[in-house]
Amino acid sequence: MAANGVETTKAGGTQGTTSRNGAWNVTTRKQPILKAEPIEALSNELGIPIPEMIFGDNIVSLTHIKTGWSLEFNARDALDKVSKTEEGMLQVAVAEQWKKERSHQDEVKQVVKPFDWSYSTDYKGSTHPGEALGAWEQTTQERFPIRTDLLSRPDPILFFDTVDLYEDELADNGIALLSVKLRVMPERLLILSRFFLRLDGVIVRIRDTRVYVEHATNKVIRQYTAKEGSYDHVQEKLRQMRENVPEAFRDANKLAPLLKTVEDMTDVFEVH
């Protein structure tokens, strides 16, 4: 038993914590990137090439202990939500020029099967119902707010982790990164799953899924917020703010306030 009556366990890349009232458990598993064979199997299963860094064995899970209900974040399910068609497909900044100048236009016509190579996902976690009844219900922040006032208090953090699910450097045209952060305090917990895309010269995109639980309740509040901005617009704003532009472009926290919200929804699961 650790301080404040919260149990923390740690074994072989897996760590977990149970809230002191015994209602909720948060567990993370961190392993090396996948080896060649599992990568091939996953690629065949999903029908798309796999990101350069694939943490296929990493997991973050939130479990309601009494019912076994859980919300899990893993790379496989997140990648399964990546578009496998040409819809919404981005192109690198030099693509137009590249096509014009390409000297072998006649010889090479075969395009690798199109898919959203920016690995943009609107993944909000995978729900496993266990013995629980109920379903996710659409709601609003007014009715079920994520209490940033309470989360801003300097309560002790009993368990903290960051878990990467996948990352791709887009052949050095930027970055696509899906990673999950979580912190458990005595009264509540917050999970933030963030997809961050910077396609140099083209776009910046942040898609956040926040999961909030007050340990004393049976409610899981989930907010999904998608933000975007054109690269040039963000660059201009950073210059105006006299930021170190190359450094700021690697820091999603700095970029988030400069982007426009394009989607914002909240849902809640009452587990019983």
Partner: protein, 320 residues
Amino acid sequence: MPGLPSSVDLDECISRLYKKELLADSVIEAICAKTKELLMKESNVVHIQAPVTVVGDIHGQFFDMIEIFKIGGYCPDTNYLFLGDYVDRGLFSIETISLLVCLKLRYPSRVHLIRGNHESRGVTQSYGFYTECSRKYGNPAVWHYFTDMFDYLSLSCVIDDKIFCVHGGLSPSIHSIDQIKIIDRFREIPHEGPMADLVWSDPDGERDEFSLSPRGAGYTFGAQVVKKFLEVNSMTHILRAHQLCNEGYMVMFDDRLSTVWSAPNYCYRCGNLASVLEVGPGGERKWNVFDAAPENEAHRLEQQQQQQHAGSDPVRDYFL
């Protein structure tokens, strides 16, 4: 060595760099100028003889590069061919490239460096080297010295006329080695064309020919492309780097192509192995696989303690 100011003692620079000390910016300037002179004389295709140990991407992971010398032998006892991507991403790009350049100057026929896609002004501005130069020297002058020198790096190597070594891969514009020799390489890496392809392209095990990337720029090359290239040039193998492999290396296309990756625990968090390839006098290939150097962890803890001492907890933050 003629051309280097008498104040610059290469052996002293090397021994300081092995200890991860930075050189003065005036010394970097002189060394880069001298390296340009040396590299200028090299062909776009450098012919070398085995035995040689071939190293893939290092990406500023200085301690892991030192690990390579520990397990593979120090210069000049072991001959080395480095396949590019010396800088960006890791914490010690300057120390890494400084040491490699000094070793090249000191033992020019025993150390060979070719160009990776990160040896470029454009890419290093986004992926860390520029920022590291500005931070560690207070201004970007050394970044200019290094990136100007990168324009002179050769593009490929051939071991014993049999093994073609390049950073990325093949190009639809290149069928024979002679076509590489006529590229005007003394420039920033262009967005397209054979020079770009050599440092950027990737093999695709599921295809036979060249394909366009869905990104809209760049190629992948397949089994028949590799087979034809080797036949046309009377070679047996293509050796390249550029792609992360969890096992440290990957062999494809019926042993006609391999990828060597030399940055263990890439970005200090991938948990992958790394390797170097030892090519013996008879052309035999032996993978020497290694894990991240223990100094990485010690350095990480030291940094954390410093931050904690300064009153911030680098591990836990009150994110919202």
